[in-house]
């Protein structure tokens, strides 16, 4: 257990965040984009919990992480509703078809 330091957690978090960024920027599927956002939020959660433990066994970081999870749930509910409406509007799930902000 001693081999597991803060750096491991930060590495995991960074990889998870990078995966999320790539998912958000590269995936065409709107649901995929939302999943990418969730990944980024959870990468941040891992950082919060890891630093909380590392800086002296407080619960502050864990409490923040719980807030973030709640926020992610609320955000997902709203975002899914938006995606559903956009799908009805554009008859497509691909974010590349939502080009009404062009020019």
């Amino acid at each position: 257990m001693t081999g597991l330091t803060i750096n491991h957690y930060l590495m995991l978090s960074a990889m998870l965040f990078a995966t999320g960024v790539l998912a958000v920027t590269l995936r065409r599927n709107a649901i995929g984009v939302l999943i990418g956002i969730e990944l980024m939020l959870n990468a941040a959660n891992i950082n919060l919990v890891a630093f909380s433990r590392h800086l002296g066994n407080h619960v502050d970081g864990a409490v923040y992480a719980i807030f973030v999870v709640m926020l992610a749930a609320a955000e997902a509910a709203v975002a899914i509703a938006i995606v559903l409406n956009v799908f009805h509007h554009a008859a497509s799930i691909s974010v590349d078809d939502y080009t009404e902000m062009k020019n």
């Binding site: 958000v24 590349d96 080009t99 009404e100 062009k102």
Partner: protein, 665 residues
């Protein structure tokens, strides 16, 4: 508001009402328009007579109100009633009423019957407004309305070329005089600051005498135009183109009376300038004898009367040119008596013309006495009056007083003795040519059987006015003049150069002398005309005399070529000046203007190029730079969310790298 003012407003409103009602309900009224005209004038006449009977309380009243006020100057107008106004009101309403009545018979069947009555109403309105005005502004307005109404009435038969030329001539000639009058009004306002008679007269002491002379001459110019004095008399004979009732109205009560009235009204000013008085007297006397000599040769019955009017107006002006109180009274008294006998003569000639089916040439009449007894008798009475038959006629009293005042005026300036003899000669000529027209029309053998056969006495609407006027031509001479126009009491509203009393030896002597001369010249004039036209020896003597003075006779019958002179010298010269002015305008002034214009155009063309190339270039350049830049930048706005996000992440990452790199050192 005093009773007199209210009544005068009623009198003023009546003819206007008639004109408006006839204009508004022309279709509905038809030939009933005459009833409107006669009825309203009857009311006006009744009011005027009431005012005249109560002149003692009414004379001297007036009413003034502020018309408008501009730039701190208050313009007041109003009504002023004095003896002169009351006398004029009676004459104007009476003659106008009789003319309205006369026209019912005379104009019967005319295609523009209603229009005729309409303009008669306006004509009368303007004259009434003129005599009740207490200021020059409304007087001048009425003066001009009268010009318009006379234009319409003289041109009543405008289908005839001579009629429309005549009405144009009357309008234009009087306009020439109006220029002088208007300048005089401007000068009066500049020097006294008011155009109300009272205020003008109160301030005359401060006005330099040369200015007064110019003002007086300007006013006389206006009066000469309206009252047909030489050389502005040319319109009046031509105005005979109008229907005969109009001629009667113009010659008796309105138009020509206006000029004499103006001088009589402004007398307080006129007498301050001996120079102006002399000009008025000389022009009047010259006009009197000049017009009388033309009347000798006229064969048109209306032309004889027209020239006699000019001549009689000359008498009035001559009297007004003396400056004494009796002369003022005589001039205006003659205006009144002349109104009656001249209206009677004109309406009488109208009756003759009506009876002879619009034949106006006396050489084709003759012997009409039996056919037209009433017309003939009234014409004779009026002839006796204008010829100045001693003691029984009104014309005698007024003309005698004119001569007497001239003789009395000779005491101050001997020029008036000369003028006296000129007028005495003219009076004899008047008696001669008036009776000439009487003999030619009513006596002798009928010279045209056709005209004679068809002649018939006119209806009552024509003969009643004749009888009334003939009666007035006799009785108007007795008594009343001192009530209305008192020679010795008029100083309350008129000032004179010198005054006499009835007992004055100078006046007494002049009066006796003039009386004797009048009697002699009357006998001479009437007797000579009887001899020349009613006896066989006289006729041959007349023919020989005519051959003897053939050139003079020719000149007189050609009206001394005054019309031709005006045509050639004034109208042609004006035409040439106009052509010259037109040439200067077109070729010289227009050339300069055009050159200026083309320089402007060239300059603006150059400026236009600079504008398009440089200024617009800069503006357009800015615009197209923004446009092009926007086009390039808009490409990166693809609308694809992924691109935006990628951009955001990339920039954030770059920022993070930079911050980390900076924080290391």
């Amino acid at each position: 508001m005093p009773t007199g003012v209210l009544l005068s407003l009623v009198i003023l409103a009546m003819p206007m009402l008639s004109a408006l009602v006839i204009a508004a309900f022309k279709k509905q009224l038809g030939t009933k328009a005459d009833a409107v005209g006669i009825g309203t004038m009857g009311v006006a006449l009744a009011c005027a007579v009431y005012m005249a009977l109560n002149h003692a309380t009414i004379a001297g009243t007036g009413y003034v109100f502020e018309w408008f006020s501009v730039a701190g100057t208050s313009w007041k107008i109003g009504i002023g009633l004095d003896g002169l106004t009351l006398a004029m009101l009676v004459v104007v309403t009476l003659v106008s009423f009789l003319v309205h009545l006369f026209s019912k018979g005379y104009m019967h069947g005319d295609s523009r019957y209603e229009d005729f009555y309409r303009w008669l109403g306006l004509f009368t309105f303007s004259m009434i407004g003129l005599v009740i005005s207490d200021n020059l502004i409304t007087l001048f307005v009425m003066w001009e309305i009268m010009g318009l109404a006379s234009y319409k009435l003289i041109g009543h038969y405008f289908q005839k070329q001579s009629a429309y030329l005549a009405c144009k001539k009357a309008f234009m000639t009087t306009r020439v005089g109006d220029v002088g009058m208007f300048l005089a009004m401007l000068a009066l306002y500049t020097s006294t600051g008011s155009l109300r008679f009272e205020e003008i007269f109160a301030k005359l002491g401060d006005v330099p005498s040369s200015t007064i002379t110019w003002i007086a001459l300007g006013l006389f110019m206006g009066a000469a135009g309206k009252s047909a004095q030489f050389p502005l008399h040319v319109w009046l004979p031509d105005a005979m183109e109008g229907p005969t009732p109009v001629s009667a109205l113009i010659h008796a009560a309105t138009m020509v009376a206006a000029g004499v009235y103006l001088i009589g009204r402004m007398y307080t000013l006129i007498v301050l300038s001996p120079m102006a008085l002399l000009v008025i007297a000389v022009v009047g006397a010259f006009t009197a004898i000049f017009a009388a000599s033309i009347a000798f040769t006229a064969t048109d019955i209306k032309k004889v009367l027209a020239y006699s009017t000019i001549s009689q107006l000359g008498f009035m002006f001559t009297a007004l040119g003396v400056g004494s109180n009796f002369a003022w009274q005589a001039g205006l008294f003659h205006l009144v008596t002349h109104a009656f006998f001249k209206a009677c003569l004109f309406l009488g000639s109208g009756s003759v013309i009506h009876a002879c089916h619009h034949e106006q040439d006396m050489t084709r009449m003759g012997g009409l006495w039996k056919k037209l007894p009433i017309t003939g008798a009234t014409y004779l009475v009026a002839c006796l009056s204008i010829a100045g038959t001693p003691f029984v006629t009104a014309g005698f009293y007024s003309k005698d007083q004119i001569l007497a005042s001239l003789w009395a005026g000779g005491h101050t300036s001997s020029v008036y003795y000369g003028i006296f003899w000129v007028l005495a000669l003219t009076a004899a000529m008047t008696a001669f040519y008036m009776f000439r027209s009487f003999w030619l029309t009513f006596f002798g053998k009928p010279r045209d059987a056709h005209v004679y056969e068809h002649a018939h006495e006119s209806p009552a609407t024509i003969t009643i006015p004749l009888i009334v006027l003939a009666a007035l031509a006799i009785v108007a001479g007795f008594g009343w003049k001192d009530a209305f126009l008192p020679a010795e009491g008029a100083e309350t509203y008129v000032k004179f150069a010198n005054s006499f009393t009835h007992e004055d030896p100078v006046w007494h002597h002049a009066h006796g002398f003039a009386l004797a001369v009048s009697a002699v010249i009357w006998t001479l004039g009437v007797g000579l005309s009887w001899f020349c036209y009613m006896t066989a020896t006289g006729a041959t003597a007349r023919k020989r005399a005519r051959e003897l003075i053939a050139p003079l006779y020719l000149a007189a019958s050609a009206k001394y070529w005054i019309d031709e002179f005006i045509e050639v010298v004034i109208i042609r010269t004006t035409g040439i000046v106009a052509l010259l002015s037109a040439w200067i305008d077109r070729d010289a002034i227009d050339g300069f203007v055009d050159a200026t214009g083309s320089v402007g155009m060239k300059t603006s063309a150059a400026s236009g190029v600079a504008d398009i190339q440089i200024v617009d270039g800069a503006v357009d350049g800015t615009g197209s730079l923004a446009w092009g830049g926007g086009g390039i930048l808009s490409r990166i706005q693809s609308g694809k969310i992924r691109h935006y996000l990628f951009g955001a992440v990339a920039v954030t990452a770059l920022f993070a790298v930079v911050v980390l790199y900076m924080s290391r050192s």
